[in-house]
Symmetry: C2
Subunit: 455 residues, 2 copies
């Protein structure tokens, strides 16, 4: 902790003068961020003019557009011209998972969120596999993703889900953004030799892992060069692309919000299925540094399983888990929120303060005109219940103008909590001096003993 | 309502002097029941001496024993000697439902609970069908069943589930009871001509509907006299018996208590399946005068469906339903009860009253020794969180000895509710004069805004 003290007593420790590009990148981008950065930026940042048909061509991101249209075109062409061999099919699915894990276990959970530590071999594996998914370098990807978490659902979020399903799925990549994404620090990543290595060889790696490698495996091992290229290369890449994109679109659109409903992220099994386990996105946005997305064993999160297995083999360590206590708090809050709506929609017994206080004499007098019964200090009008009473009309009639507390609470019949609740709805007055000691539990209907209160 | 007034002003209206047996029976059995009847009786009633091997023979109910052993014996003999014909099989199942409904829709929901009104033809149908189930006359059956509801789980309950599964299933019928069942009024039933008619011809009806009728149908229509007797007669009766008995045993033993957990009755689909729909017994004990046992369309309650269809054809009317509002209250209470356990099991932020109040100067001084940060008037020790912070160590370090309220609540990053909850767990002090106006919602962690309180 002593480092903290030092930092405080001296002026904010700035990094040494930026002589090299690398060194400069190692200073946190947000070290001197002002206290009102978000509100100020959201208010004062001038967005670029909106995209219309007229300026569309200037605003297209041609490279992304090319990759995202040519890949599926190649795949479709292959589908119609090359015969699918089962070995190639299996290899395509396997390679889909390998490159998918490169993104989910590597780019996403390891580098963007630092949710565990990976040994060098695992880091190289993930960096190389991730390149095969052709989604940009680790640094570029994490920069955007951290901004997405930091400014979720605002104009500073590059994939802002409020701008619609298709914008968050691919629109944000195909069009030049109107807003600059908010500040997000990736200085920790600049320090990593693996990431620098990937950055440096990125173009070669893409070609190698995206197309050459899957083709060569199928070609050398079972002679299916064409199938390797079209299916394990192009078609597989197309699936990996849209699989990952679904985390920004589908996962902000489909499902439940069991942990918090402040923002758009949602949990859904189907999203998990198509994203190698990234579908419990409501959990993930609440607890982004947790190496899990799914917390139950029966939920589908192969990325989590992969990390756990790596940990078993000593390839990963320090798997982060958000305190269970805080996770449960989120769930509890959401459940209480739902129940509170039920609570508010129900009719409740009139409060003692809203009832007239009536003397015993007046109660006697009034119960000549209508059937009034005293129970636990409250006066009840049972007009509409005489013929409905399961215990029979005669028992109610007998107690008109009298105190039925003992009879009602077990002396004659130990009424159910439901009967007690119903009784409270028939309150028309409070008996003067009628609230005696020891009656508290009888004067509060059972359904009103536990209440959701707001603080 | 005028009748009520009259009843009150004059002495309790007693019925005319009992000249006829019938007239006497029409006075409610509990019209003069004392206010402390239940507690007094439970305390002072002397039970018969416990049953041991020595006095077992004197205490057996031989008639019941005979019926409940001879019927299955006949059925098993038939199973091994008579070939099953599919017409007879179908007829046995149909007759199982007919006689079952006689008990569930007739004996139980119509007469014991008055949960709807039935036209004379329907009453005769139910009385005759119910006799085919050979479970005693309507009056005897309802007398016991009303006592069961009125004194559930006590010594005054003839099938007291606390005495074990087998006692409540058949034990109570096979052995002479140790306790007299509690008072239960069936004077309303004595007035019914249908019930009196059934009572009068009961022995003939049993033989006719229990055995002769199912045999004759199979014999005359497809010539299977033997099968009719053994399967539609004996085997079917055996199933109806244990089906009904399950309402007293299984329904007080298996399942959930979604409406109240004060007593043993439980809801379970399997119980419903084997009892023609009487398996939502937790609901039923809470709302016994409701013609339904299952309140959801997808739950299995053919007895309810039968009554509803009869109502469609004008054969039944005044189907009683307990107010939805009160039903939901019961469910809400049970759900809150569960969530309250969760709430109690969780660790919550220290309360402001339990924290030392610390001046700004002292805060400054102390934060030289350990990393303290002020947020929303509370002082937090973030020692164990510096390297865990997803936003990076540098942002926390920057705010040591400072007020991070604005930065924490959106200025730099709009932290999740989970982060806010976690923050509250790190409270070590309250800043003197630090609770400013407008900070209320920031000083109460989101998970503590909705709380289940007990009144
Ligand atoms: C004044 C308001 C009353 C209300 C709202 C009320 C309500 C109910 C309800 C809902 C039941 C159905 C069973 C249950 O839910 O526990 C019931 C049953 C019964 N009540 Fe009441 N009751 C009232 C007063 C009384 C009084 C004063 C007596 C006795 C002197 C009495 C005696 C009975 C008996 C004996 C039963 C059992 C019926 C059976 O299961 O066969 N009730 N009452
Ligand atoms: C002192 C107690 C603090 C706690 C307990 C805390 C907790 C957290 C948690 C749990 C997250 C994960 C995301 C979320 O749940 O919203 C987070 C993220 C973040 N925090 Fe804090 N924080 C604290 C202070 C601060 C301060 C003072 C700042 C800024 C000056 C800050 C800036 C950030 C940023 C920028 C992120 C986003 C990281 C990302 O998504 O890439 N935090 N914090
Ligand atoms: Fe997201
Ligand atoms: Fe993420
Ligand atoms: Fe029962
Ligand atoms: Fe019942």
């Amino acid at each position: 902790m002593s480092s903290v003290v030092e930092t405080r007593k001296t002026a904010p420790k700035q990094s040494p003068a930026p002589t090299l590009k690398d060194a400069k990148e190692e200073v946190p981008a947000d070290i001197n961020i002002p206290d009102n950065y978000v509100s100020w930026t959201l208010k004062n940042q001038k967005p670029l003019p909106p995209i219309t048909w007229d300026n569309l061509l200037q605003n297209l991101q041609w490279l992304t557009l090319a990759i995202l249209t040519i890949t599926p075109s190649i795949a479709i062409y292959g589908l119609f011209t090359v015969k699918m061999r089962w070995e190639t099919f299996v290899w395509s699915v396997v390679y889909y998972f390998i490159t998918g894990l490169g993104i989910t276990a590597g780019y996403h959970r390891l580098w963007a969120h630092r949710s565990y530590n990976a040994s060098k071999p695992l880091q190289y594996f993930l960096a190389i596999a991730g390149t095969g998914a052709v989604e940009g370098s680790i640094k570029w990807w994490c920069r955007g993703h951290r901004a997405h978490h930091r400014y979720t659902d605002t104009d500073l979020d590059p994939y802002n889900a409020h701008r619609g399903f298709w914008f968050s799925h691919i629109g944000w990549m195909l069009l030049k953004p109107r807003y600059k994404p908010g500040v997000a620090d990736v200085s920790d990543l600049s320090k990593s030799s693996v990431i620098r290595w990937q950055h440096r060889w990125y173009v070669w790696l893409i070609v190698g892992m995206g197309f050459v490698f899957p083709t060569v495996v199928a070609g050398l091992l079972w002679g299916d060069w064409k199938g390797g290229f079209f299916f394990a290369g192009a078609a597989r890449l197309c699936f990996v692309h849209h699989s990952t994109f679904c985390v920004n679109s589908l996962a902000h659109w489909l499902g439940e919000t069991p942990f918090d409903d402040k923002h758009t992220p949602r949990d859904h099994f189907i999203t998990a299925l198509v994203t190698v386990g990234e579908g419990y996105h409501n959990f993930h946005h609440q607890f982004p540094m947790d190496y899990r997305n799914a917390i139950r064993w029966y939920q589908y999160d192969p990325t989590k399983w992969f990390i756990a297995v790596c940990a078993q083999f000593g390839l990963a360590s320090h798997l982060k888990i958000f305190p269970e206590n805080e996770v449960k708090k989120g769930q509890l809050t959401m459940q209480l929120k739902k129940l509170r709506e039920t609570q508010e929609d129900l009719q409740w017994a009139p409060n003692v303060d809203d009832l007239p206080v009536i003397s015993w004499e007046s109660f006697q007098e009034q119960s000549i005109k209508r059937p009034l019964i005293v129970v636990a200090g409250f006066i009840h009008d049972v007009s509409d219940f005489l013929d409905e009473h399961p215990g029979g009309r005669h028992l109610l009639v007998k107690y008109v103008g009298r105190d039925a507390t003992t009879a009602f609470f077990g002396g004659v019949y130990d009424h159910s909590n439901a009967a007690h609740n119903l009784l409270s709805m028939k309150r028309v007055g409070a008996l003067h001096g009628g609230m005696q000691h020891g009656l508290q539990d009888k004067s509060i209907p059972p359904a009103q003993r536990l209440r959701i209160a707001r603080y």
